[in-house]
Symmetry: C2
Subunit: 398 residues, 2 copies
C-alpha cells in the first residue's frame, strides 16, 4: 500500500477537495478533478436497473465524448431520490462550472454513500466556493481520500508509458470496499492520462479493461446503484492521438489494464472486514464463460469465504459451489489446490488438508480449480468473509 | 418451538437411534425409521450437480416407489467420496436390512456433515447391531435429534387429517441450519404418514409441496450435495388409497403442505447464527416467476441481511437488490414496508425509517415489496446475517 502514497498525476490536471460535513464533520468529502483543457472522456456504468441520479446524468453527458471536470462526493449516493436527485446533481454541476468559467456540459458528477436520502444541498452549496478556491492545492491522493466510505485506505495506482520520446502517465484512483460484485458494485474509479487518445479507442480500452478487472472482483455478491468508471485523456503530452492502428496503442492499453487490475487488487484486499486477498483461478475449462461462471460461484460462496477466513481447507464447499454454479463438469476429473497444495485430485481427497491449512494463513491466497475439460482459464479476485463484514454493514447507517 | 417436543408419529412406524462417534463422542448420530409394512415412497433430491453417494443411491432405489426403512447419519455427508462412498452406503443398507430381515432394496440412506471424507466404517458397522437392537425404543423426536448438525433445536411438525371416520397423521422431521438455499441445500427431511396414498399422487404432492416450502427458503445462497426429502406412506390407517380423484386428496395435500411449510419456518428461524426469521414478500408482480426472482435477490443479499440484523431500515439496499435481480420494474412505482411501516412510497423515502427500526427489533420480520405491476405474489423465508454465522462456518471443521 506504500506506493499508493506516491501516486503521480498526469500533466495538465489539477485537484481540489473540501469538507461539507455531508455525513459527518471533520473530513474532506467532496473532490474535484479538473483538466486544463477539454479532454476526451469515456466511461462504464452500473448495470443495476436502479441507477443513481449522477449515473444517469453521466450517461447522458458522456455521449459528447468530451469533458473537463469531475466532481465527486462521498457520504450520500443520491440514489432513489427521484426528480429532486437529478435537479440537485444538475445544480451542483452548474454552480461549479460557473465558478470555474466553463460550460456545465463539460462537468461530470459521481456520488457514493447512503441510498434514498436527498443530498444535503444546504451543506454542499456553500462548500462549493471553498472547493473551487482550493483548486490546485490538493493532490490526486487527496481526491482519492475524499471519496472513501468504508474503505480503510485510499486506492491509487499509476503507470508510466513511453510514447515516442516522451513519457506519458496513466493514473487511477478508486473507492471500493463493500458491495463489490460482478459488474463493479459501489465502485467509483477515475482514470486520468496526459496521453492523447482518440475517442473510440479510449472508450473501447476502458470498457474492455473494466471487463477484465473490476467485473472480476466480488466481495458480497451485491451490486450498487452508483458504480462509475470515468476516464479523461487531455493530450497534454502532445502526442499524435492514439487510434486503433497506432504503434503505441498496445502500450497504452496495457497501461490502462495494469492500472485497473492494480486498483482491483486493492479493492478486493480492502473488502469490508477482509483479512485476506483471495484469487480464485478456474482453469482447464471448455471456454471462458464456463470458467468465469465457476469462479464467480466459488468466489461468491459465503461458506467458502468463511472457511478461508478460518484457515480451513474445506474443499467440499468449493465442490458444492461448482455443483450449483450451473456449469457442466466432471467431479471425477476435478483438481483443487490451496496455494501449491493439491487437496483434491480427480475428485477425491489427497489427505493434505492440514498442510493446506498452513498455506492458508498467508495474507494472499490463490485457490486453483482445474476442471481438466479444456484450456480456458479465468481469475477472479475476492476476499474472506469475517465478523467485521457483519459489524460494518449492520452499523453502516446507525 | 415447544410443540416440536410433542410430535406425534403416524401408526405403523418404529424408530431407533444410536451413537457411532462419527464426528464426536457422546451423541446419537445414526437414526433409523422403519415401517411395519412395505410403504409407498416418494422423494425430491438436490439439483446440485455434485451429489453425495446416498443421494445417488436413493435416486436409483426410489424408481420402485417402495420402501420400509430409512437410515440416516450425521457427522459425515459421504459426498465427494467416489466409488468407495457408494460401496460404503450399499454395505450399510445391506447389513441393516439383513439384521431387520428384509430385502436391501427396501432400505434408503441419507447422510449429512462434512464433505470429502469417507464414512468411518470401522465405527459405523459395529454400531449397526445396537441400532437394530434398539428398534422401537426411540421416538421420532429422537431421530430428529440424531440428524442435527449445526441446528440448535430438532425440527418436527405433525398434522392430523380426518379421512372418513378415522384420523390419519402426517409427520415430518428435518435438519437445516446453514447452506439452505434455493432448492433446499443441506436439508434432510423425512415425512411419514399412515394414510394410504397412491404412488403418483404421493410423488406429485411431495414435489409440489417442496417447491412451495423448502425451495423458498434461503440462508446463505449455497446449495448442498446432500439435500433429500423422502416420504413414506404405509397405509396403516386402512383407508382407500388416495388418488387424484379422491375426496380426501385436498385435505391430504393441505396437510403435507402445512407440515413442510412449518418445517421451512423452523429451518429459516434456525439459520446459522440467525437472530430473526425474515419473510420477504414480493407482491404486485407481473407473474410469479418475477416475484420469486425479486424476492430471492432480496433474501439472498448479504447487505440486506446485515442491515436487518442491525435493525436498520436500510431500504436502499433492497432497492439495489431489486435493481440487480434481473427483473424489469419501475423504481418510481415501488413501495417497501418493514412490518406495517411503509418506508418507501413510489420509489421515494417516506421518512419513517426510525419508526421502522423499532418494528425491526421483533424476532419475526416481514419485508413487503409492492411492485405495482400486476397481481402475482411470492413469499420467501430467510434470516438475518450475523457474526455468529461467520463464527460457526469458520470453525465448522476445526
Amino acid at each position: 500500500m506504500d506506493d499508493t502514497k506516491r501516486v503521480i498525476a498526469p500533466k495538465g490536471f489539477r485537484f481540489a477537495t473540501t469538507g461539507a460535513a455531508i455525513k459527518r464533520q471533520g473530513r474532506k468529502d467532496i473532490g474535484l478533478i479538473l483538466s486544463d483543457t477539454v479532454a476526451v472522456v469515456a466511461g462504464a456504468f452500473t448495470t443495476n436497473r436502479v441507477k443513481a441520479a449522477p449515473v444517469r446524468l453521466c450517461m447522458q453527458k458522456i455521449k459528447t465524448g468530451k469533458g473537463r471536470a469531475i466532481i465527486v462526493n462521498s457520504g450520500n449516493a443520491n440514489a432513489c431520490t427521484g426528480k429532486q436527485g437529478m435537479a440537485d446533481a444538475r445544480k451542483i454541476l452548474s454552480l461549479v462550472s460557473k465558478k470555474l468559467g466553463m460550460p456545465a456540459s463539460l462537468a461530470y458528477m459521481s456520488s457514493t454513500g447512503v441510498i434514498g436520502t436527498p443530498l444535503p444541498m444546504e451543506k454542499i452549496v456553500p462548500a462549493l466556493d471553498s472547493l473551487v478556491e482550493e483548486m490546485g492545492r490538493s493532490s490526486l491522493a487527496d481526491v482519492a481520500a475524499s471519496i472513501m466510505t468504508t474503505d480503510t485506505f485510499p486506492k491509487m495506482v499509476h503507470k508510466r508509458v513511453k510514447i515516442g520520446n516522451s513519457i506519458g502517465t496513466v493514473s487511477g484512483i478508486c473507492k471500493g470496499a463493500g458491495m463489490i460484485a460482478p459488474n463493479m458494485a459501489t465502485m467509483l474509479c477515475f482514470l486520468l492520462t496526459d496521453i492523447a487518445v482518440q475517442g473510440k479507442t479510449l472508450d473501447r480500452t476502458v470498457k474492455n479493461s473494466v471487463a477484465k478487472s473490476f467485473n472480476r472482483i466480488t466481495i458480497d455478491g451485491d451490486m450498487s446503484t452508483n458504480d462509475t468508471v470515468l476516464m479523461m485523456s487531455n493530450g497534454a503530452l502532445g502526442n499524435e492521438p492514439i487510434g486503433p492502428a497506432s504503434e503505441y496503442r498496445n502500450a497504452f492499453v496495457d497501461a490502462v489494464e495494469e492500472v485497473l487490475y492494480g486498483l482491483s487488487r486493492l479493492v478486493a484486499k480492502d473488502g469490508e472486514g477482509a483479512t485476506k486477498l483471495v484469487e480464485v483461478v478456474v482453469k482447464g475449462a471448455a471456454n471462458e464463460a464456463v470458467a468465469l461462471r465457476a469462479a464467480m460461484a466459488v468466489a461468491n460462496s459465503s461458506l467458502v469465504k468463511t472457511a478461508i477466513y478460518g484457515n480451513d481447507a474445506n474443499w467440499g464447499r468449493i465442490m458444492a459451489a461448482l455443483g450449483y454454479s450451473g456449469i457442466r463438469f466432471t467431479e471425477e476429473k476435478t483438481d483443487i489446490s490451496f496455494g501449491n497444495v493439491k487437496v483434491v485430485k480427480k475428485g477425491l481427497a489427497t489427505g493434505r488438508d492440514d498442510e493446506a491449512a498452513r498455506v492458508m494463513k498467508s495474507k494472499e491466497l490463490r485457490v486453483t480449480i482445474d476442471l481438466h475439460a479444456g484450456s480456458a482459464s479465468v481469475n477472479v479476485l475476492t476476499c474472506d468473509l469475517t465478523e467485521d463484514y457483519i459489524r460494518i454493514n449492520a452499523e453502516y447507517r446507525t
